[in-house]
């Protein structure tokens, strides 16, 4: 196997929060199958907090573990806090990733951020601006 930490293996074998959210408040999609990995994140927002996060991921073991870990880290956080989840913090929580898999940890945080931005954009468009 790639030299994955136990944490990565555990999240890969038992990924948290796999799935879609019906009528999500935001969707973020990054990567594409040609490059090897693709992730779609779905979020449900309540009181400026991430009430629920779900994902679907096409990709390697690291991509799946990163998605799982990112979703777990995000749930319950405020939007601001969630925007501060970085590839580095995800990789650290996973007890490290092999060097050539670091791009996967970028994708997780990016997809989450895109989903939040999607939510914010929609809200702004509706003049809601909860997050200002």
């Amino acid at each position: 196997m790639p030299v994955y930490s136990e944490k990565v293996m555990e999240h890969f074998m038992n990924p948290r929060n796999v799935g879609e959210i019906e009528n999500p408040d935001g969707i973020g999609e990054v990567g594409n199958p040609i490059c090897g990995d693709m992730m779609t994140f779905y979020i449900k927002v309540k009181d400026n907090h991430l009430e629920d996060v779900k994902f679907k991921t096409f990709g390697c073991g690291a991509a799946i573990a990163v998605s799982s870990m990112t979703s777990e880290m995000a749930i319950g956080k405020t939007l601001d806090e969630a925007m501060k989840i970085t590839p580095g913090t995800v990789a650290t929580q996973l007890e490290g990733l092999p060097k050539n898999k670091l791009h996967c940890s970028n994708l997780g945080a990016q997809a989450l951020r895109k989903a939040i931005e999607d939510y914010l954009n929609k809200n702004r468009a509706q003049g809601g601006g909860k997050n200002d």
């Binding site: 990924p15 796999v18 199958p33 040609i34 990995d37 779609t40 096409f58 390697c60 050539n100």
Partner: protein, 400 residues
């Protein structure tokens, strides 16, 4: 848990008889074949016997065999050694697009030195058309290198026809037979190439011993400078134990080839037939008739190879993949791409390579554990979700 090794293309297990043949050269003092004393004599005689056995496997003369340390070394020595020996005649090379990197990258290194490389394409089943080889030849072509069998997709090339063309044009033909020698009949007289690479760990011999055969009269620039081992064509102290093991493996392969091929192709055909039946949207890669007896390779849509391997491993099954994520360079297999398979589909590559130790039960086990793995990964896959949505109510609805 059942352990099922289906990665014989990466390296085969050692047969007990091969191990036995090696132990005396690890158990006692194995001399240096260059030494002038009894220990040197035993080592030299053992190497000579191994040489004769390897020669017999491919219908060659013993003195035509050069022992090397791995298939990669044999391929480097062949491509660079043959091309550089003829560079005064020209600097044009021909290779197929699906050669192993040890051939392709050797040719690339020669390109940096001023050679030109023409790549011959393959069709969607990974076959080279001998006519394309003919078309690629130029007056300044000094080497053609076409592999015999592909470890990734199993396709076996029409080397005999290709050799007829290169002979006609008086251009030497090297064949990377690392995946075929010891596994299917390879006779250098019958096939007609001028140089051939083989490796012991592809047919139940040890790692660390491989060979290059070169037709008498064909010049070769050695790639290791030093002493006069291997007739000066490959310097360096010989790995006697591994060479002896290679010789034994060659002997066993010569003696048991037909039985082995029958056994392997029965297992292979069951995989090739049943897996696509049990897992929708799965294609067989490589030619289904001109094919290595042990190769069952597929692309499974909507999911990625490394994840499949990891889940198979958790069930005790070893296999390999040509997906981008499983390569350290993060590039999809150039073999699959050359066959016109999309990058997306190539991500779902999975290669089962069978060995003589595998049983029908092993195959049954894989047929049982793989479908739920694919299901699970597809349930996670946004591509699959998109596909299902795109065909809602259609014939693919049942896939859910």
């Amino acid at each position: 848990m059942r352990k099922v090794y289906l990665d014989n293309a990466a390296t085969t297990p050692l047969l007990p008889e091969v191990r036995e043949s090696m132990l005396p050269f690890l158990d006692e003092l194995s001399g240096n074949p260059s030494s002038l004393h009894d220990w040197g004599d035993s080592a030299r005689e053992a190497v000579a016997e191994a040489r004769a056995r390897v020669a017999r496997l491919i219908g060659a003369g013993a003195e035509e065999i050069i022992f090397t340390s791995c298939g990669t070394e044999s391929n480097n020595l062949a491509v660079k050694g043959l091309a550089l020996a003829r560079q005064n005649k020209g600097r044009h090379l021909v290779a197929s697009a699906i050669e192993h990197f040890s051939v392709l990258h050797s040719a690339r290194t020669l390109e940096k030195m001023g050679f030109e490389l023409s790549l011959v394409p393959v069709d969607s089943s990974g076959m080279v058309d001998p006519d394309d080889v003919r078309q690629s030849l130029r007056p300044d072509t000094v080497l053609v290198s076409i592999m015999h069998g592909s470890n990734e997709v199993g396709t076996v090339q029409p080397i005999k026809e290709i050799a007829r063309i290169t002979r006609e044009h008086k251009v030497p033909l090297h064949t990377d037979a690392v995946a075929t020698a010891g596994n299917i009949p390879v006779d250098v007289g019958e096939l007609g190439m001028d140089a051939l690479s083989l490796a012991g760990n592809q047919f139940y011999g040890p790692q660390g011993a491989a060979a290059l055969w070169v037709r008498p009269g064909v010049r070769l620039i050695p790639q290791f400078d030093g002493g006069v081992q291997e007739g000066g064509r490959r310097s360096g102290t010989e790995n006697v134990a591994a060479i002896v093991g290679l010789g034994k493996a060659a002997e066993l392969a010569s003696d048991n080839m037909t039985v082995r091929m029958g056994h392997l192709s029965r297992l292979r055909d069951r995989l090739l037939d049943e897996l696509p039946r049990r897992i929708d949207h799965t294609v067989v890669t490589g030619d289904t008739t001109s094919r290595l007896p042990g190769n069952a390779s597929f692309c499974i849509e909507f999911i990625e190879g490394e994840s499949i391997l990891m889940m198979l491993n958790s069930k005790g099954v070893a296999a390999s993949s040509g997906s981008a994520c499983t390569s350290r360079a993060l590039k999809a297999s150039h073999v699959l791409i050359a066959m016109g398979i999309t990058h997306e589909l190539a991500q779902g590559s999975i290669v089962f390579s069978l060995g003589v130790d595998n049983s029908p039960e092993d195959v049954g086990y894989v047929l049982e554990v793989l479908p739920p793995i694919v299901d699970r990964l597809r349930q996670m896959s946004p591509l699959y979700a998109r596909f299902i949505k795109g065909s809602k109510g259609g014939k693919n609805a049942r896939l859910q």
